[in-house]
């Protein structure tokens, strides 16, 4: 199972890096969304995969009697999903507002904060 997921993670990461290299915000946004999914899958795989054995201790037992799935990565991923989703939502709105206010979604053309021909500092009185 792990090799399959490794390939999937690789695909997600490479697609997201490709998208994030674009100068258009909307593509970068999609790249960020893919990246966060790739990372979640990575944490899940790094926690070792063991299929279909819930981490539940049978009644009357003190410890699990057989190998079970690792519940910790799922808790980590749950946190990461919530965070990355909220950030994605924020970035989506930010990107849209920037598009409205600046009239472009190409980061090379966003030169309001750093104008293209900035005055040089004075050289003398």
């Amino acid at each position: 199972m792990e090799p399959v997921l490794c390939v999937l993670i690789t695909v997600l990461f490479s697609a997201s890096f490709y998208l994030m290299l674009s100068t258009h915000i909307i593509r970068v946004l999609l790249g960020v969304a893919l990246l966060s999914n790739g990372v979640n899958l990575l944490i899940f795989t790094a926690g070792r995969l063991l299929r279909e054995v819930p981490p539940i201790i049978a009644e009357g037992q003190m410890v699990p009697t057989m190998a079970t799935a690792n519940p910790l990565p799922q808790a980590l991923i749950l946190t990461a999903i919530v965070i990355s989703f909220s950030f994605f939502a924020f970035l989506l709105v930010l990107g849209f507002r920037a598009y409205q206010a600046l009239g472009t979604d190409d980061v090379n053309e966003m030169r309001v904060a750093e104008p293209e021909r900035e005055p040089e500092p004075p050289m003398g009185y």
């Binding site: 944490i43 930010l94 309001v112 004075p122």
Partner: protein, 526 residues
Amino acid sequence: MAAESHAVDLSHAMFTQPVAFADWLVIAPVVTTIIGGAICLMTRKQTTLQPWIGTFVMALLVAIDAALLLRVVNNGPVTMVMGNWLPPFGIAFTVDAFGALMALVGAVIALTGSVYALVDVRTLSRRYGFYPLLMLLMTGVSGAFLTGDIFNLYVWFEVTLISSFGLLILGSSRPQLDGAVKYAFLNLIATTLFLVAVGYLYGVLGTLNMADIVRSVRELPDAAPIGTIAALFLLAFAMKAAAFPINFWLPASYHTPRIVVGAVFAGLLTKVGVYSLIRILVMLMPENRAAMSDIIVWLAIGTMLSGVLGALAQNDIRRMLGYLVVSGIGSMLVGLALGTADAVGGALLYAIHSMLVMTALYYLAGIMRRTGGAFDLAGLGGLYGANPLLAGLFLVLGLAVSGLPPFSGFWPKVVLVEASLKAGEGLLAAAILLTGFLTTLAVGRVWLFAFWRGGPLGTPDGAEHLPTARVPHETRLAAYLPVFFLVALIVWLGVWPEPVFAVANQSALGMVDPSAYLDSVFGGSE
């Protein structure tokens, strides 16, 4: 009932003793700021009340952090585990002198910010949530300094990040949206890379508790891919700390928001990145840090020089300050590059100095704008004649940021240069000194044009066109008080650095040899 038949001795899984009252201090900074933020959110329409609540909570935070530092310095690191689970399970907050000192200085910065905001953040921005966001920012920053769990560190990074987004776009002007796009995307990518590194680390070690990581890394077989993970951490945190060559988000964004927001960011955010670099590479993975030491040396030199050269090329004072923040990060990276206790202590001292000075300089730029009517060197002039007090304050801060005695910037540089020479890194020492010289030029030019020149660009030599504007009477105290407070601290650090030196040395020793840290976490179970 099944539960009754399971009544067993829990002492091998949990702390059975209740937490000592004084240990609650460990989470008090986070709890206080969350509650303060919630109260501010509830009273967000009471725009005259909010600054008082904000300032009170921040003053409380300073007091709590000071008490925490005092306790840690006297009794060694303190640990508190959520849910009373025995480490390494459960989320641990472990406070050592390094974290507590950074948290204290951070709280001081936030306190001055909440006072200066009276000048800078008017009714509408208060309604849009300046104070709640500032409190949440402090929650994230304090949490990052105090936590002992690496995934928890990631969560605090995200808390800090989302609050900083809110603060950055408060006002929604066009430059702000432009700066925020670059800031937001690059910082989010950096924290995601951090999460990737955490995921791999967990895959290799099976633990997230920092103290447990220290133990497990030592026992790893040689073939374990821990070097790659350390490099990923370096990449992620170097991006957060604005280290060359991945620092371009900082000068693109820090000059766009309100001055108080820029000031607080300059004081806090990049330093959290530097703190994490030192915590993870010096304490958790010392061998891998040593292996990457040559690369970090060049990162440090590149950051210092690119920052200060950028500062020299700027006409706008705020942009110049942004580049000076970057340049200061380079000096802190020197401590990371060398990794000895002396150097790490020097980096900590430099971080404290940089937090105080850069924040104060941003505040001063705001006052200069209100007095002289501009942020750029061409438009400013005659400030010395108009307001000698302002000129005096700028001179102190300018000398401090350049690293000239008798102010706070001098001692950390002495320590760092000495440590570099001792390690045989003459180039690094030369870069520190050259950066100091170039910083003096950049700051001296502001002094020359904004203060000494008789008026804005074009004023003939000898003529005077003094600006007549003043900071309005009702906010004058709020504008000058934070600057005076920070300048007093800077002078104190320059003239009598002994107490802070002692704490910094103790912190750095604890970082290089974390046995006290480990004892604090595992003391109950071993």
